[in-house]
């Protein structure tokens, strides 16, 4: 059986590595909670305890309302689209058609690129006049759209970028799941006279359910975590129309230098992720019963 961990080894193996982890994960999370009850220090006076004042600001912050709406819309829009596309891609790649390796490369390539490179590529793609998007519109005689520069289209344009980057990654998970679908089930269905469409909806899709749950939850967390493209492409604009929560934290803290409010928003973010994790735990547990 396992031995007791001697004190000296414990210090080297556990305490030193974990101190680093705590210093940059748990400490800052708690620190944000503490700082959210204090105001900003200035050159004339140190910061002082203000109770829930920052939280009152948070409740009355119109920009935050817009940012939360944007984030929700962004998550609800990108995740189903990316998942649908990923399933389609996985089916195509799994069918072992001629040209499969080219398809796989094309689908997976965006996942490999840094988000900042993806942002540059799409910035060019959307560029008014010179970009491929407006050239294609011109080809059909449609008027050019200022994709990133107008409040109606900026968020949707960012969502396409996210879908483009993420669908290939999700495809990999679905590919693994598809390969685990037992052949004899499909054979049996075929013998009974079921066509490929029927087989997909009645046999394959239900078996992909656990993968879909897993991918959806991770995509949800990612939707809150990844904002590099917002920084490069729109800076949250125009008029906050494409600002997401983490981008807002970044802007409040590092452009407006409002660290106290930044800490308050961080608390909001951590709580939100905590709730998402709880939902994930609950859903995944249910899945275990289901199987």
């Amino acid at each position: 059986m396992n031995k007791r961990l001697p004190f000296g080894l414990a210090m080297i193996m556990l305490v030193a590595p974990c101190l680093l982890l705590v210093a940059f994960t748990h400490y800052p999370a708690l620190r944000a909670l503490l700082n959210s009850f204090w105001n900003n220090a200035s050159s004339r006076r140190p910061s002082k305890f203000v109770g829930v004042e920052n939280y009152q600001t948070l409740l009355e912050d119109d920009r935050l309302v817009q940012v939360m709406l944007n984030s929700t819309f962004y998550a609800l829009g990108t995740i189903p689209l990316a998942i649908g596309l990923a399933i389609g891609m996985a089916l195509l790649v799994n069918a072992k058609l001629p040209g499969t390796s080219l398809m796989r490369l094309s689908f997976f390539m965006p996942t490999m690129l840094p988000m900042i490179a993806v942002a540059n590529i799409w910035l060019f793609f959307y560029a008014p006049g010179i970009g491929l998007a407006s050239q294609i519109l011109g080809l059909f005689g449609l008027p050019p759209i200022n994709f990133l520069g107008s409040t109606e289209t900026s968020l949707i344009s960012m969502m396409f970028v996210a879908v483009w980057k993420e669908a290939g990654l999700f495809m990999i998970f679905y590919l693994a799941a598809l390969q685990a679908v037992p052949e004899n089930l499909k054979d049996a269905a075929r013998l009974e006279g079921a066509g490929p469409v029927r087989i997909f909806f009645n046999i394959v899709l239900p078996l992909l359910r656990p993968t879909t749950i897993f991918v959806a939850v991770n995509a949800l967390i990612n939707a809150f975590r990844l904002v590099d493209h917002v920084i490069v492409m729109t800076r949250g604009g125009p008029n906050n129309s494409s600002a997401l929560l983490l981008y807002y934290i970044y802007e409040v803290t590092f452009s407006q230098r409002d660290f106290a409010y930044g800490a308050t928003l961080t608390v909001l973010m951590v709580c939100l992720l905590g709730v998402l994790a709880a939902v994930q735990y609950w859903v995944l547990n249910r899945k275990a019963h289901y199987q």
Binding site: M1, A10, P28, P98, F107, M112, L113, P114, I116, T253
Partner: protein, 270 residues
């Protein structure tokens, strides 16, 4: 016969979709390899040129940025491999109080990753005077919950009898780790290294916040500075720079394609 026709139809549709999907990337590649005058007008026989790459390389200190990224990745990777191995080994091989609680505490990092905590981590860094240093960028990532989790899973599969046999032979804790556990986990180390390298090569927000001077900037931040500050910069140069900074990853991907795919899957299915 219809079967064959069907396959050809699906294959054509699939390739068409793949081409459409690749369009933004291909457009960027096309622009990077052609003169600025061909940026928005397609002439199939337009002369291919590497001029944009040379110009971009000279216009900003990309060599320095690459070096910084390599240093950053090396620091993070070496620290990760050592620290995560130690923690995972302690969890697998020893008994101690609060083990379950401590493990749960570590796993918190999977959810609340350093990207979320930019505000307070920035304050910590400035308190200890590490702003604008490569080590400062690396600090929050030196221990990785994901690495600990992955290695613990792997170490758990090492047969206890091997461990005991080595002990009977008189091997101490460190020799057992080095001669039994580490060699058996080799594929996992490679897998983890690939995912970690691609993550830190791509990381942007945190290095952007921590760095102010070109001497410490990694390529992602360097690229964004190059592509935005000088607003007069030509698209062909921006695209060339974008490709240049991602080329090492793309090459690595082509070489390690199978490991990459296997690993992204392992990274996902926890």
């Amino acid at each position: 016969m219809t079967q064959g026709l069907n396959r050809i139809m699906w294959s054509t549709l699939g390739l068409l979709f793949a081409a459409l999907w690749g369009l933004p990337f291909l457009y960027s590649v096309w622009t990077a390899f052609h003169d600025e005058i061909y940026s928005a007008n397609f002439v199939w026989n337009a002369p291919i040129t590497l001029e944009n790459f040379f110009e971009a390389w000279q216009a900003a200190p990309f060599a320095l940025y690459f070096l910084n990224t390599v240093i950053l990745i090396t620091i993070v990777l070496v620290a990760n491999l050592i620290l995560c191995t130690l923690v995972a080994y302690a969890f697998v091989r020893y008994r101690f109080r609060w083990a379950g609680f401590l493990f749960a505490l570590i796993m918190v990092q999977l959810l609340i990753s350093p990207e979320i905590l930019i505000v307070e981590n920035y304050l910590t860094l400035s308190k200890i005077g590490m702003i604008d240093t490569i080590l400062g960028i690396a600090l929050p990532y030196l221990t990785s919950a994901f690495g600990i989790f992955l290695l613990r899973q792997t170490f758990l599969t090492v047969p206890v009898s091997l461990d005991e046999a080595a002990q009977i032979e008189g091997a101490g804790a460190w020799r057992v780790l080095w001669n039994i556990y580490v060699p058996l986990a080799k594929p996992v180390y490679l897998a983890y290294a690939l995912v970690s390298i691609s993550f830190h090569w791509n990381n942007f927000l945190w290095p952007l916040i921590v760095t102010n001077s070109p001497e410490v900037r990694p390529v992602t931040v360097g690229l964004s500075v190059f592509a935005t500050v000088e607003s007069g910069v030509e698209w062909s140069l921006v695209n060339a720079a974008t490709l240049m900074t991602t080329a090492p990853l793309i090459v690595a991907f082509v070489i390690f394609q199978r490991q990459f795919v296997a690993n992204f899957m392992r990274a996902g299915i926890k």
